[in-house]
């Protein structure tokens, strides 16, 4: 582990604790954005630039914006929970944490070629893509788009279905239509002003 790894993991932990403890929701949303950006940097250090792109754009960008618009609709402070120190939940959390840390001791080294994930599906997978894909170098795209095309089609459908569901819940029917109908006129008016 280099100093950068340690620094990013440390910042991740600090940000997580801050999010859990802070009562000002606006600040908490900002901290989740920071957390996502740190995760994106961490993914980049783990040589996963694809995941890093996604985390930076979705986590730090879009979801922060959506959380802020939700706050604009609800409110920006959380009621104090009147928290007393409860020993049993505390013990459960500490025990679970210890078990998880104990579990990581058995994990293989990062990038070890004898990892189960590198051996299990087929050791020749990486070699086979060169021939199968006519020399397209990106194995990740080949696996996602071609070898597991069904999965990706399913994922795309999930994104589509989620979008439809959000629209069905949040859309405001007629009002929205009349607004979009009035849009060109108002846009032209503001254009004249400029």
């Amino acid at each position: 582990m280099t100093a950068i790894d340690v620094a990013i993991l440390l910042f991740l932990a600090i940000t997580a604790v801050t999010i859990a403890r802070i009562r000002d929701l606006w600040a908490a949303v900002m901290f989740t954005g920071i957390y996502s950006f740190l995760s994106a940097s961490w993914m980049l250090l783990l040589d996963a630039p694809d995941v890093s792109f996604t985390e930076a754009a979705v986590g730090a960008g879009i979801s922060t914006v959506l959380m802020l618009s939700t706050l604009a609709l609800t409110g920006t402070t959380e009621k104090a929970s009147g928290a007393k120190f409860r020993p049993i939940p505390f013990m459960v959390v500490v025990l679970t944490g210890c078990m998880l840390i104990y579990g990581t001791l058995d994990m293989p080294q990062i990038g070890d070629p004898s990892d189960p994930i590198h051996i299990h599906p087929s050791p020749s997978f990486v070699e086979r893509t060169q021939g199968d894909m006519h020399g397209l170098p990106n194995v990740v795209t080949a696996v996602l788009g071609s070898y597991r095309g069904y999965d990706t089609l399913g994922e795309t459908t999930v994104v589509f279905t989620a979008g439809i569901a959000v629209l069905l819940i949040l859309r405001r029917g007629k009002e929205e239509d009349s607004k979009t109908g009035g849009r060109p006129g108002s846009a032209a008016a503001s254009g004249d002003n400029a």
């Binding site: 630039p49 694809d50 792109f53 996604t54 754009a57 979705v58 960008g61 879009i62 914006v65 959506l66 618009s69 939700t70 604009a72 609709l73 199968d132 894909m133 006519h134 397209l136 170098p137 990106n138 990740v140 795209t141 080949a142 996602l144 788009g145 071609s146 095309g149 069904y150 990706t152 089609l153 994922e155 795309t156 459908t157 994104v159 589509f160 989620a162 979008g163 439809i164 959000v166 629209l167 949040l170 859309r171 405001r172 009002e175 929205e176 607004k179 979009t180 849009r183 060109p184 108002s186 846009a187 503001s190």
Partner: protein
């Protein structure tokens, strides 16, 4: 946001590059890191940034909700359509080897490359449209609340 000239100017400079980077991640995804989903969210975040700085009405003029709505389903249609196309050409569903052709070899992608290109395009279109549409849905509610708050005291 008319009171923040620095934000407006910097955003105007940044947005073309964000969209260009989105296109790069989309169309270069077969060679480098990236692909449809990443490109979709980058493209959508460019649109959302424009909406945040210049207002919901401005971004709705650029990307009208009616068009974006249709793009949501068009992406899935491109993806599934590629699969149906390979079936019509005699192969299995999503078996891109059957897309092999000999028109302009070396210039147009062919076979597996063409299949991946189409499929990633479908993913990119759907993800861009869904993300933008969700932003419209949220921001539209916020705008409606502000309009209500302004109208209520007058009568």
């Amino acid at each position: 946001m008319k009171t923040f000239p620095i934000i407006r100017v910097v955003t105007k400079i940044l947005i073309p590059y964000i969209l260009l980077f989105g296109c790069y991640v989309q169309f270069h995804g077969d060679y480098g890191p990236g692909g449809g989903f990443q490109a979709g969210v980058i493209f959508a975040s460019g649109l959302i940034l424009y909406g945040l700085v210049f207002g919901l009405d401005a971004v709705r003029t650029v990307a009208p909700p009616r068009v974006i709505e249709k793009l949501m389903s068009l992406g899935v249609l491109i993806f599934a359509g590629t699969g149906v196309l390979t079936m019509l050409l005699g192969g299995n569903f999503l078996d891109y080897d059957y897309l092999e052709h000999h028109v302009l070899p070396g210039i147009l992608p062919t076979g597996q490359h063409l299949g991946l290109f189409l499929v990633e395009l479908g993913v990119g279109v759907t993800v861009t449209a869904v993300m933008t549409m969700i932003f419209y849905a949220f921001a539209g509610r916020v705008q409606a609340k502000h309009v209500q708050a302004k109208q209520e005291p007058t009568p």
